[in-house]
């Protein structure tokens, strides 16, 4: 295994790393199904959740993962922290570092913040979403959710629809799924697609239309559109987005029979996806949330394991 102490980018992982995260997560998923949803594995480990951006799902998912592993977790909401008094990111981390944490879970609005932090701390750093860069645990849980239904990722057609330019989920998913050999079709308004295209990533292409993207797709990943995008000329309006880039039951009917619809949440119902689709069993949005806990438990366990192995033997 090529694992490092940190999980910053899907690109740092190999195929077998991804599979071993998923295999481990499968076991951790069972813990959440027991009466006593807890194992003592991370007893005495301290994990700091440092969220510079609001988040409900990811933060609670990480926090539950920590609690189910018996780790002591500390949540720092930036609005109440010394950051509001002008402390730099570096100083914040160095101060927290003195409290001897074993891991940081970082959500930051600036791309590359977790990488920066990993350079100045001995603790493990887990990227819980940085700017428009990456969201690796989301990708692991997406892959886990797909693997529960489909055996061989490399035979799948995956459509990723929406605001690709600003989506860390899309970027991590593209890297991860491409590595596992899936055929990836991207669709969205060109104003929300990277100008460079995807020529540097295998098996990724930009579809000419929504229909081409979803036709015979085995997995459709819908992305959240942020309402602010209209204000910066990326799209004309939310109404227009709804008219042309929403996944409707008609479009969904073009996909393969056992199609899975994923969405990282939070969902704008009837903006990027018809509410009626969410209400049906083709969506795995809630499965994704369930698997999120297991994947994050696996990440904490495996990364702290690596960190331990890096310590000098006394």
């Amino acid at each position: 295994m090529s694992l490092k102490k940190d999980l910053i980018s899907i690109k740092d992982l190999t195929k077998s790393d991804i599979y071993s995260f998923i295999e481990t997560a499968k076991e951790f998923k069972k813990i959440s199904l027991k009466d006593i949803k807890k194992v003592p594995t991370l007893r005495g480990k301290t994990v700091i959740n440092l969220f510079y951006e609001p988040s409900t799902r990811t933060r609670s998912s990480f926090e539950i993962a920590q609690k189910r592993l018996s780790a002591d977790s500390l949540n720092i909401a930036i609005s109440q922290s010394s950051v509001t008094k002008g402390e730099t990111l570096k100083d914040t981390i160095l101060n927290l570092e003195s409290m001897k944490p074993d891991a940081f879970v970082i959500r930051h609005h600036e791309s590359g913040a977790p990488y920066f932090i990993s350079k100045i701390t001995k603790a493990s750093v887990i990227n819980a979403g940085d700017g428009i860069n990456e969201h690796p645990t989301q990708t692991l849980l997406d892959i886990m959710t797909v693997m529960e239904e489909k055996k061989d990722i490399s035979s799948l057609k995956v459509a990723i629809i929406g605001d690709i330019s600003h989506s860390r989920v899309a970027r991590s998913d593209i890297f991860g799924l491409s590595m596992l050999g899936a055929d990836i079709y991207i669709y969205g308004p060109y104003s929300l697609l990277p100008v460079t295209g995807f020529k540097d990533i295998p098996n990724v292409r930009i579809a000419k239309g929504f229909k081409e993207a979803v036709k015979n797709a085995d997995v459709i990943i819908m992305l959240r559109i942020q309402k602010e995008r209209a204000g910066y000329h990326f799209i004309p309006s939310i109404e227009e987005y709804r008219n042309f880039f929403k996944l409707t039951p008609e479009l969904l009917s073009l996909a393969s029979k056992g199609v899975m619809v994923l969405h990282p949440g939070p969902v704008n119902r009837d903006v990027e996806i018809s509410g009626s689709i969410i209400n049906r069993d083709k969506t795995f949005i809630f499965k994704q949330v369930e698997n999120g806990i297991a994947v994050r438990m696996a990440c904490l366990y495996m990364l702290l394991g690596v960190q331990k192995s890096l310590e000098p033997d006394i």
């Binding site: 060109y190 104003s191 209209a230 990326f234 799209i235 004309p236 309006s237 008219n243 042309f244």
Partner: protein
Amino acid sequence: MKRLIIKNGIVADPLSRTEVKRDICIEDGIIRGAGNGTGDFKKSRSADIKIINADGLYVLPGLIDMHVHLREPGYEYKETIKSGMEAAVSGGFTSICCMPNTNPPNDSASVNNYIINKSKEAGLINLFPIGAISRGLKGENLSDIGELKESGAVAISDDGNPVSDTSLLARAMLYAKTFGLPVISHSEDLSLRGKGVMNEGFTSQALGVAGIPSIAEEIAIERDIGLAKYYGAKLHIAHVSTAGSVDVIRRAKKEGVDVTCETCPHYFTLTEESLLNYNTNAKINPPLRTGRDILAVKEGLVDRTIDVIASDHAPHSEDEKDTTLDNAPFGIIGLQTLLPLTFKLYAEKRLFLHDIARLVSQNPARILNLSGRGGIKEGYAGDITIVDVRKKWKFSENKIKSLSKNSPFIGMDFTGIAVYVIVSGNVISAN
């Protein structure tokens, strides 16, 4: 079955680049065949056959004016959709495209539908609306471009209001690319135009009025082409008027940028000197330039740097133009003068008639994705313009079909005129 046979005309076909005498058959509005005699067409018996004898006339694919300002809704006293269409018929056009600077501007499906319905009521020729790039033509937010396309817009443009915000134009190009919709740019640096009313040069100096420098157009075209090149988007540049602009576009095309452009007849006919005597009927934007620019535009037409001739038909009422040069609005009418002014280039032997068919029919159709138009070919729409290139006539005020008479060409002698306009097989007398 309804059948129309055009006999004995010389067909100027931009697709084959030939001018050959042959007959054309239009069945139920669609071109069904073209042969040497009428023999082929006589085989099937039909109740309704109409024959036009085009002996001595040229037969062109239906002409398309891709740059017209109809003033409806909002300014019906200048022009209505119906009056504009009547002027277009007289000018030889089977299709026109109207710019969105109406009131309200055409930035939504509702205005678009209104315009299309009005044109169907008039029922003369085809009308293809051009939607707004920005909401309200304000240059701030994108209009609902997908909705415009879906309701029938063939391009987007903020013509008249150049898009100053570079990121807005860039994203408009990208967003419109999603829908395969071309962006038509009125390329002009507004800060350089300032309060200018005519070309900056000796004449503006002589008249003592503020000038519009040619660089205001060229610098904006450079920017817009730069964007199209960087983003791999399709761009059409409206009303090219300067030698520098032609150079910039020629270079870009050589580099392989997906750019097309148009000019208007006045830019290869008149110079800034038309504004001496403070003639407001020659006040137009971009302004009339110099003799050197006229030559460059003509060269651009010949070497195919310029793809399209359009009229930029911009009606304004007599009262609006009957004022000082500073006060008068920009714009002249042009639907009825485009063809005779373009025939001057034919007379000068710079263009063949099939070149004119390319510039005023084939290329506009190609740029705007009007499939099945812009050529004389089996299966194409039965849109035909029949012209008499020898007919001499004077462009007098009483010949103007527009509600507005703001033309600098009134009183001019022309050679050549449209005789028939055929739209989906229906024959309309043009003149």
